[in-house]
Symmetry: C2
Subunit: 554 residues, 2 copies
């Protein structure tokens, strides 16, 4: 009997069945490398949660195997979990200029100073044990994005990262189709590819497309212009800066992340700014409206972002003026539609004019549509395919697209986070799984808020609570103080005095009954209070506040 063949394992720890917290482990023998390390934003039902990060217990269990983290690009859903992961395993981190520039800001905020960051240039190949990790220039809605090809003893794993095919990028070179074609020609074992826009026909427009719209807007506007966009979309920012320069306007940069990213991008030479283009927010009064552009965060309607604060008159230094032209150079991320809409309405109410995507071509997507995906599949010609970076519906559509291109259904793996996809030279299968749940971050707590806490928050959010306190004597069990009732989030107490008095009576009666039956056990007393009140309140209000009975003994 021969030895078992060594297996290559691909384990997505995030990014499947969601557009968020991307993280993929690639394992061969006693070596693991990681592609991306992102966070996702909380779902609506995750009340009070700040962010969600991948469960890395598999990596912690195999700490000695894990060699390094390789980043495709600098978006939060690809780098946002780094501080949390690096606090648990200190690993070298590899990425391009801007990617690491953004990582540095993040690590500084978390006071992490002893991390080894290794800057790479597209075209670089990093040798790491049995792996050689090759960075390949790509295009996306952030500069310096890469595809990553991992050369393993069993073949090449090609990870597209987030990409689109932009034939006329704003700066730098195009996505390296030649390199990708070459890899495909030599043979690729498996491809993981971006599925975000797998439902959309055609091709995503070039970032360049936005230029004409901006030119038009700047040419025809005599007022102040305020442009909201993602800070990380440096090429968009560049286009706004260029238009401002051409139309003799000064630029004010507003919003913490916008200031951060513009600073880093300029320092790294990614953003090219003419001298004296930028002015400080305090210098604005030296200029007339037609000489000003404000570029700001808040394009998703985030309540704390600069634009939202301007719209609701809560910004310290900037007020919306009648006639301001506000451009949303963005599209609402699913779930943010109402937030954006609210800000748009507030801006209109303040007398601003507002331009947004449904009205003009002021935004393009960063993800490949179907025709671009087809190009990628045809160039890479992978033997196996794992649709990645998408909700289930997107993964399904992407798998369908691959099938339509002639790929064998058996060679396509729609996996779950945590699935172990196991490869030999000429076979592949899903073989078991590792833990890969969602770890919730709330303040300083990582993972300490789980289903029970969330269930309680939901209950409290919907109907509030009622605390019932009663003090009894140790000896006789007689009530010596209370019952006192305190409610929050239930009814407006001042207008519900009768209800509260009746509620107290209900509690008293429940306790009297217990006394008559000689019940002294706290659990029974508490249940009696809870049940009595619950029925009473439901009948009176059709609400179910959380009821917290507290018994004190003296």
């Amino acid at each position: 009997m021969g030895r078992k063949p060594t297996k290559l394992k691909i384990i997505p720890l995030g990014g499947l069945n969601e557009i968020g917290k991307n993280m993929t482990a690639i394992e061969f023998k006693d070596e693991i490398i990681i592609i991306d390390c992102g966070l996702s934003f909380p779902e609506d039902e995750m009340l009070g949660i700040d962010m969600v990060i991948p469960d890395i217990s598999y990596l912690l269990k195999n700490k000695d195997k894990v060699k390094g983290i390789f980043l495709t690009h600098g978006h939060e859903d690809h780098i946002g979990a780094l501080p949390y992961v690096l606090k648990k395993i200190n690993l070298p981190v590899y990425g391009t200029r801007l990617t690491l520039g953004l990582v540095e800001i993040k690590l500084k905020e978390h006071k992490l100073s002893n991390v080894h960051l290794q800057r790479v240039t597209p075209g670089d190949s990093i040798k790491m044990g049995s792996f050689a990790v090759e960075f390949i220039r790509s295009s996306h809605s952030i500069p310096d994005a890469c595809c990553i090809a991992i050369h393993t003893p069993l073949g090449v794993v090609f990870h597209t990262g987030d990409f689109k095919v932009d034939y006329t990028p704003i700066a730098g070179e195009m996505i390296d189709l030649h390199k990708i074609a070459e890899l495909g020609q030599k043979g690729v074992l498996v491809m993981l590819a971006d599925s975000t826009n797998a439902e959309r026909r055609g091709a995503t427009m070039s970032e360049k497309k936005v230029e004409a719209t901006f030119q038009n807007i700047f040419r025809n506007t005599k007022q102040r212009i305020i442009v909201a966009t993602f800070a990380s979309n440096v090429h968009r920012v560049q286009q706004v800066m260029d238009a401002a320069q051409q139309h003799n306007r000064k630029v004010v940069v507003s919003g913490r992340s916008m200031v951060n990213v513009v600073g880093v991008a300029e320092e790294l030479g990614i953003l090219t700014l003419p001298e004296n283009l930028l002015i400080d927010i305090d210098e604005m009064d030296q200029y007339q409206d037609h000489e000003l552009v404000i570029i700001t965060t808040g394009s998703q309607g985030e309540p704390m972002a600069a634009l939202s604060r301007m719209a609701s008159s809560e910004h310290k230094k900037l007020e919306i003026q009648k006639g301001d032209l506000v451009v949303f150079s963005s599209t609402p991320i699913p779930g943010n539609e109402k937030l954006v809409s609210r800000v748009v309405n507030q801006l209109f109410e303040k007398g601003a004019d507002v331009i947004y995507e449904s009205l003009a071509e002021v935004h393009v997507s960063g993800h490949a549509c179907q025709e671009e995906l087809k190009l990628m599949h045809r160039l890479v010609k992978p033997k196996y395919f794992i649709p990645a970076h998408g909700e289930f519906r997107h993964l399904m559509k992407h798998a369908q697209l691959a099938e339509d291109l002639g790929m064998d259904k058996e060679n396509i793996f729609i996996a779950q986070n945590g699935s172990i996809i196991e490869f030999t030279k000429d076979s592949a299968k899903i073989n078991g799984s590792v833990p890969a749940g969602r770890v919730l971050v709330d303040g300083l707590g990582v993972g300490d808020v789980g289903n029970i806490v969330l269930r309680d928050r939901k209950h409290l959010a919907e109907d509030g609570l009622m605390v019932v306190v009663v003090t009894i004597t140790k000896e006789s069990g007689k009530i010596v103080a209370g019952p006192d009732i305190i409610s929050r989030g239930f009814v407006y107490v001042r207008e519900s005095e009768v209800l509260m008095v009746e509620a107290k009576d209900v509690v008293k009666k429940a306790l009297e009954l217990c006394e008559q039956q000689n019940q002294r056990e706290w659990a029974i007393l508490k249940n009696a209070i809870r049940d009595g009140l619950k029925d009473f309140l439901w009948e009176k209000t059709k609400r179910r506040p959380m009821i917290l009975p507290v018994i004190m003994e003296v």
Copy 2:
């Protein structure tokens, strides 16, 4: 000096700066009539709220003047507040067949039996004091929708209701453009018009357009077909029924409101069903998959609706099977995108195929786009114009459209809910306002949940709460029991024992300090507990749970 001229007042009590709770009061001398009486669904921040209805305190104050309610159509945002309003003022209600059919269901649910419902037919004119209220056939995403022309001594008030111009309606006649043209020719004082789609270019497609898509789907499907749509869109339901009949499928009706509406619509002769087309859900097993269509509620991803329950395996009688074809014949209402997306993903995971609007023409809007609005403005030729039924952004775009058609800016009124728009024969102005806030309905409570309760719910939702109870003696103020600490929605207590012990110490120390300073006032003790704990918890967790100190005295 002559007498002051009698004024006509139009007072929108809802429906402005929102798409919801439509209600407009029209007042002349000592008579008020009301157009529509709708609810709106709660905003995200209205935690635990069931629905929002208009503030009718102005009407209650002028109870004797109010003569009747006239309904344009049967959607919730036009009839949903009726039970609440009728409980306060019993008024005759006028509406067309289906509109009153739906009202009856609603009143029955609220056990309101003594309401005078007066059925009208398009073309009817109701004389009511100084007013004559004329119902004019319109088209919308529900049958029997009307425009309403109110003839007053000062001129005609023309209210479009919700409308589109459908040149090829599914059943019945077209929107009565001739009547509208005639009114316009004779002279209209003021028009209130639907602004929902004022941002959209072109014209809304005919309901008929969906037929071809359905035919295609039914022709090419061998599996079970499940169609989700709004129950009230009876013409859509009719098209599904027709396609089922043509392709030899039986139809199961699923979901409470779908069952209700199909029943009412068939009874009224609005829905035409061949005999033996409908089968009971329990008869399904007598048919093969290709012989079945299920028409269901849940097209908005509402968690309790039938489709969502099928998708999450919580439906008692229906399970999604591999191969089922689910058609979302709808578009997500803003804010519902993620709910719909979740159901779509669950359906795909269960092996169903899913068709939704972005993939096929399975839905059309019920509201007029810009070209239809232009037609309406040109036909009605009103002297004054009040854009209605829209968020502020929509009202602005609609006003702009009217201006572009040559209307004088001075004659367009962008009003607020509660604005009094006052007309004489040849003048108009906004002259003051009446109360017109939002009344929140939570269970049986109407208006008892306000900002304070909502603020508490939000606080509880985000960080939970901590109750601190301590019993002291009346004489000495010494602690004789506690402090006890109970938390909910804050941390998972079993894994945070140390934190809870430390928190107790913090409280003890705070109370000891008070004792040393001989402080006995409860307010001061409570503040000491609150402040001490707040700082401690923030430092340890960066969270701010609600802290509820309770002091018992024995």
